[in-house]
C-alpha cells in the first residue's frame, strides 16, 4: 500500500514537473535541409538539423571543440592507426544496440551515395575501418593522420540493421532514418515542416522537448513576423537590419555568437594581365600590381574594418586578422586585424611603384553573406579614396560562385579581386589554410578554393608538415606559423571580419549560440 502511494506521489510530481516546461518547441529556420539521409549532402543545414536524429563518434561542442559522442575515447596506437572506443549501452531508435558493426557499415555507405552533390568522401577517403570487437574500431591511413578525430566529428553514424541497402528516399520517408540521437524522426513535408519526437531512451538523459517542429521560412521579414506573432518559439538568421528594433521589444530575446565564418578578399596573384586590374582610366595593363606584396598590404591598410563593422554590419561582426577567431585551434595571437592606416598604405604603394594608383574591380555575391554587396561597396569607396580607383560588380550567388572559381579560360578563376567567406566546418585552421592559401595543385588536392592562386612554397611546406604532425601542441605551432607567413608576411588573402550570428527566441528561452551556425533544439534552454 505504501509503495502504491509513493508511486502515485512520484507520478504526480513528475507530471507537474513536465507540465511546468513547454513540451513542444517550434523553430522557424532560414534554410531547409535537402535530405534526411545524413550522407547525401555535406551541407550546413543538413549537418545541423540531422544532428537531432543521428550522432557522430566525436561531437563538436558549441565552440566546435571536440568532445566524446558515440566514441568515449580515441587515440593513435601507432603512426598510422587510430583506436576509437565506443560507448556501451547506446540503443538505436528501434531498440537495437549500437555496435562497431554500425560504424564500419557507415564508413562504407557514406562514400557511396548515388547522385550526392557533395559527398562525405572528402573526410573518408584513404581510411580503412576495422572492427576489433563490438566496442572497438581501428581506423588506419597510409600516412600519419592528425585530423582523424576532427574528421570523425563530421560523419553521422547510421544503423546497419535499418539502413542496409537503403536509398536516400528511404531516409526521407522514414524507415531508414534511425539514429541514436536525442530526437526521433517523425516526418518531413518538404517546404512545410520537419518534425522530431523525443527519444525517451536517450543515453545522454531525457531530452527537453517532447516535440521539435522545424518550419522553413526563407523570407527574413516573414521569419521575424512569425516569431513576433507567436507562430514559432525561435528563429535563426535574424537579419542585421532588424536587430536594433528587436532589442527593444519585450516579446523577443536575442542570442548572439561569433561564427566560424570569416569574410575575406582574394587577390589575383597569378596572371600578369589580370582582366579586372587596369590603369586609372580603365585601360588594360600588362603588369599586375596585385602580385606585389606591398600593394596587397597597402590595400589591407586602406580598409577601415571598424568602420565596416560599425556602419555596414550595424555592429554585428568582429574585425578579423586571420582565418579563424581566438577560440579556434590554430589561431595565432601574433596577428591582429590590420589597422586603418592610409599614410602607411600610400607609402607602400609609392615604394612598389604604384604611387599614382591604378584601377580595380571588386566582384562579390549579393545574396550569400550578411550584407555582402554593401561590404563590397564600402571597400571600393575606401580603396578609391586611397588612389586605387575601384568599381563594384555584385551578382546573385548562383551566377557568382561558378565564375569566381571556374569562369575563366581553362576553368581558371575569372575575376581579379573578390569578396568571399569561409566557414571552418572542422573548427580548426588547417582546412582553410589548405583550401585557400596553399598553391593550387589538383594532384595533391591543395588550394581547391584558392581563387586568387596565391602561392608561397614556404607556407605550403609548413601546412604539409602540420598535416602530418599528430602531436597537438606541435601542430598548433606549425599552423600558427603558416598563418603568420601566409597572411602576416605575404598577405595572400585579406581578412575582413568574422560574421556574428543572431538567433531570436520568445521570452523564457535562451539559445546557446553556436560557432558552426547550427540551430539545435538541444541547445535551447528554458530560463525563468
Amino acid at each position: 500500500m505504501k509503495n502504491i502511494f509513493t508511486a502515485l506521489v512520484a507520478g504526480a510530481a513528475l507530471m507537474a514537473a513536465s507540465g511546468a516546461v513547454a513540451q513542444e518547441i517550434r523553430i522557424g529556420i532560414a534554410q531547409e535541409p535537402s535530405s534526411i539521409d545524413p550522407h547525401f549532402h555535406n551541407l550546413g543545414p543538413n549537418n545541423g538539423f540531422l544532428s537531432h536524429i543521428y550522432e557522430r563518434m566525436v561531437e563538436q561542442d558549441s565552440k566546435q571543440r571536440l568532445r566524446p559522442g558515440l566514441a568515449v575515447s580515441w587515440k593513435p596506437i601507432s603512426e598510422t592507426v587510430w583506436e576509437f572506443k565506443l560507448r556501451k549501452g547506446v540503443k538505436w531508435h528501434d531498440g537495437s544496440p549500437f555496435t562497431a558493426d554500425d560504424v564500419v557499415f557507415t564508413a562504407e555507405r557514406a562514400v557511396n551515395v548515388p547522385n550526392s552533390p557533395s559527398s562525405f568522401g572528402t573526410y573518408l577517403k584513404g581510411k580503412t575501418f576495422t572492427k576489433i570487437d563490438d566496442y572497438t574500431v581501428h581506423v588506419s591511413t597510409p600516412k600519419p593522420y592528425p585530423l582523424m578525430a576532427t574528421e570523425m566529428s563530421t560523419i553521422m553514424i547510421i544503423s546497419k540493421k535499418n539502413a542496409q541497402g537503403a536509398q536516400t528516399k528511404d531516409f526521407n520517408l522514414g524507415p531508414a532514418a534511425i539514429g541514436t540521437g536525442p530526437y526521433k524522426f517523425v516526418k518531413w513535408q518538404k517546404g512545410d515542416v520537419i518534425e522530431f519526437a523525443r527519444n525517451d531512451d536517450y543515453w545522454g538523459g531525457r531530452p527537453n522537448w517532447s516535440k521539435v517542429i522545424l518550419k522553413p521560412i526563407s523570407s527574413a521579414p516573414t521569419r521575424v513576423a512569425a516569431l513576433l506573432a507567436g507562430d514559432v518559439d525561435m528563429i535563426d538568421g535574424v537579419p542585421t537590419a532588424d536587430i536594433e528594433t528587436l532589442k527593444g521589444n519585450p516579446k523577443v530575446k536575442l542570442s548572439q555568437g561569433i561564427s566560424n565564418r570569416v569574410i575575406y578578399l582574394h587577390l589575383d596573384q597569378k596572371r600578369d594581365n589580370s582582366p579586372f586590374v587596369t590603369d586609372k582610366n580603365g585601360n588594360p595593363m600588362d603588369k599586375n600590381p596585385l602580385k606585389d606584396v606591398r600593394v596587397r598590404k597597402a590595400i589591407s591598410k586602406l580598409i577601415n574594418r571598424p568602420a565596416i563593422v560599425e556602419k555596414v554590419m550595424e555592429g554585428i561582426a568582429i574585425p578579423a586578422g586571420q582565418l579563424v577567431s581566438e577560440t579556434f585551434f590554430g589561431n595565432t595571437p601574433n596577428l591582429k586585424p590590420e589597422a586603418f592606416d592610409p599614410a602607411a598604405a600610400k607609402k607602400l604603394l609609392g615604394e612598389a611603384g604604384w604611387g599614382d594608383g591604378f584601377g580595380l574591380t571588386i566582384h562579390g555575391p549579393n545574396n550569400r553573406y550578411i550584407n555582402d554587396a554593401k561590404i563590397a561597396e564600402a571597400i571600393a569607396q575606401m580603396l578609391t579614396r586611397g588612389g586605387i580607383v575601384t568599381k563594384v560588380v555584385t551578382m546573385p550567388k548562383n551566377v557568382y560562385f561558378k565564375r569566381a572559381s571556374r569562369g575563366g579560360p581553362e576553368n581558371s578563376p575569372e575575376f581579379s579581386f573578390i569578396l568571399v567567406g569561409w566557414g571552418s566546418g572542422t573548427g580548426e585552421a588547417s582546412s582553410p589554410l589548405k583550401s585557400l592559401l596553399t598553391t593550387y595543385d589538383k594532384s595533391k588536392g591543395h588550394g581547391a578554393s584558392n581563387r586568387g592562386r596565391h602561392s608561397n612554397p614556404k607556407m605550403d611546406a609548413l601546412v604539409v608538415q602540420a598535416l602530418a604532425t599528430v602531436d597537438d601542441a606541435k601542430r598548433k605551432t606549425l599552423l600558427q606559423k603558416a598563418t603568420e607567413v601566409g597572411i602576416g608576411e605575404d598577405q595572400g588573402i585579406i581578412p575582413l571580419h568574422y560574421q556574428v550570428n543572431t538567433w531570436a527566441t520568445r521570452p523564457g528561452l535562451r539559445y546557446d549560440a553556436r560557432t558552426d551556425e547550427r540551430t539545435l533544439a538541444m541547445d535551447i534552454k528554458v530560463v525563468k
Binding site: 506573432a229 548562383n398 569561409w422
Partner: protein
C-alpha cells in the same frame, strides 16, 4: 470541335519542346550549382566527382539529348538538390498552390462582380467611387509589400491570424487539402487575399465597364418597359451579359495566379510550387526549373483551351474553328 482540340494539343507539344530548349540553354548559360552545393572543404577530386555525379561533365547537347530521351518516357530528371524525380517534387507541392489559387480566384469573383456591378450601376455614389479608388490601389501596390503589411497588421499587431505557413491538412478526394478545418482556413486567409487583390481589382473594373455598357442597351430598356423587377434585370440580364469577358479573363488569369503565387508563397512561407521554384532558381536546380516551367506552359495551354470551349457555351454565336491567318 474535336479537330480543333487535337490541333491545339499538337501545337502545345511544339511550344513545350521549344520552351524546354530555351530554359535548358538559359540555365546552362547561368552556370552550374556545384560551387554552391559542394562543401567548401572538398578538394578538386571531390568537386569533379560531384560534377560527374550530376552528369554536368558532359557537353550541353549531350545533356539535352539525355534529358529529351528521358522526357519522352515521362521522366523529367532528378532534382540536383533532393535527388528525387523533379516531376514528383513539383506535383507533391501542387495541391497547396492549387488550393491557394482557387480560393484566391473565388474570392475575386465573389467580391469583384458585385462590387464592380455596384460601381457600374451607381458610378457617382460614394460607395461607387470608393470601390474604384480601392481597385486602383489593388492594381498598383506591389504584392510582396502588401503581404508583409498584412502579416504585420493581422499577425503581429492584432494577433488574430497566423503569420504564415499552411495549416493542418486532411485528405479530400485523394488530395491533401487544408481549407476544411478552421485552423487551415485561418492560415489560407491572408495569402489568398494577398494573391486575390490584383485579380479582384481587375474583375471590379471589368464588371463595372460591362455593366455600364449593358445597362444602356435596348434589351435592358425593353425589359424595364416590360415591367420586370430591377432585381431580375440586374441579376439575370445584366449579369449574364457581363459574364463573358469576366470568364475569359478569370480563366486566362488563373494560370497567372498560379505562376504569380511565387511571390505570395515566398512571403507567407506557403509550401507550394512557387516557393519550390524560387528556391530551385536560387540554387540552379535545373531539372526542377525545367519541369516546373514545362508544367506551367502546359497548364496555360489547357486553360486557354478550356476558356475557348466555355466561351462557346456561354455565347452560342461563337463557334470553335480553326482561324487561319
Amino acid at each position: 470541335m474535336s479537330v480543333f482540340i487535337i490541333r491545339r494539343l499538337l501545337q502545345s507539344i511544339v511550344v513545350i519542346w521549344v520552351m524546354s530548349l530555351l530554359v535548358f540553354g538559359g540555365v546552362y548559360l547561368i552556370g552550374d550549382p556545384i560551387d554552391m552545393l559542394i562543401n567548401p572543404e572538398a578538394d578538386q577530386e571531390d568537386i569533379e566527382a560531384a560534377i560527374r555525379a550530376l552528369g554536368l561533365d558532359k557537353p550541353i547537347h549531350e545533356q539535352y539529348w539525355y534529358f529529351l530521351a528521358n522526357a519522352l518516357k515521362g521522366d523529367l530528371g532528378k532534382s540536383f538538390i533532393f535527388s528525387e524525380p523533379a516531376l514528383q517534387l513539383i506535383l507533391a507541392r501542387a495541391p497547396a498552390t492549387m488550393e491557394l489559387a482557387i480560393v484566391a480566384s473565388l474570392m475575386s469573383i465573389m467580391l469583384g462582380i458585385p462590387l464592380g456591378m455596384w460601381a457600374g450601376l451607381k458610378p457617382n455614389s460614394i460607395a461607387g467611387k470608393s470601390i474604384m479608388t480601392g481597385s486602383i490601389l489593388g492594381f498598383s501596390l506591389p504584392s510582396f509589400w502588401v503581404g508583409i503589411l498584412f502579416i504585420m497588421l493581422f499577425a503581429v499587431m492584432l494577433g488574430v491570424l497566423p503569420a504564415g505557413g499552411r495549416g493542418p491538412t486532411t485528405e479530400f478526394l485523394g488530395l491533401q487539402v487544408s481549407f476544411l478545418s478552421a485552423k487551415g482556413l485561418s492560415h489560407i486567409l491572408l495569402p489568398a487575399v494577398n494573391l486575390a487583390l490584383f485579380k479582384l481589382s481587375l474583375v471590379i473594373r471589368l464588371s463595372r465597364a460591362g455593366t455600364q455598357e449593358v445597362i444602356h442597351q435596348d434589351y435592358i430598356k425593353f425589359a424595364r418597359a416590360k415591367g420586370l423587377s430591377e432585381r431580375r434585370i440586374i441579376l439575370v440580364h445584366v449579369l449574364k451579359n457581363i459574364l463573358i469577358p469576366v470568364v475569359t479573363v478569370i480563366g486566362l488569369e488563373f494560370g497567372s495566379v498560379i505562376a504569380f503565387a511565387v511571390v505570395t508563397e515566398t512571403v507567407f512561407a506557403w509550401p507550394g510550387m512557387g516557393k519550390l521554384i524560387i528556391e530551385s532558381i536560387d540554387q540552379l536546380d535545373r531539372p526542377v526549373i525545367v519541369a516546373y516551367l514545362m508544367i506551367i506552359v502546359f497548364m496555360f495551354i489547357v486553360i486557354n483551351l478550356l476558356v475557348d470551349i466555355l466561351y462557346s457555351i456561354l455565347d452560342p454565336r461563337v463557334r470553335l474553328q480553326d482561324i487561319r491567318a
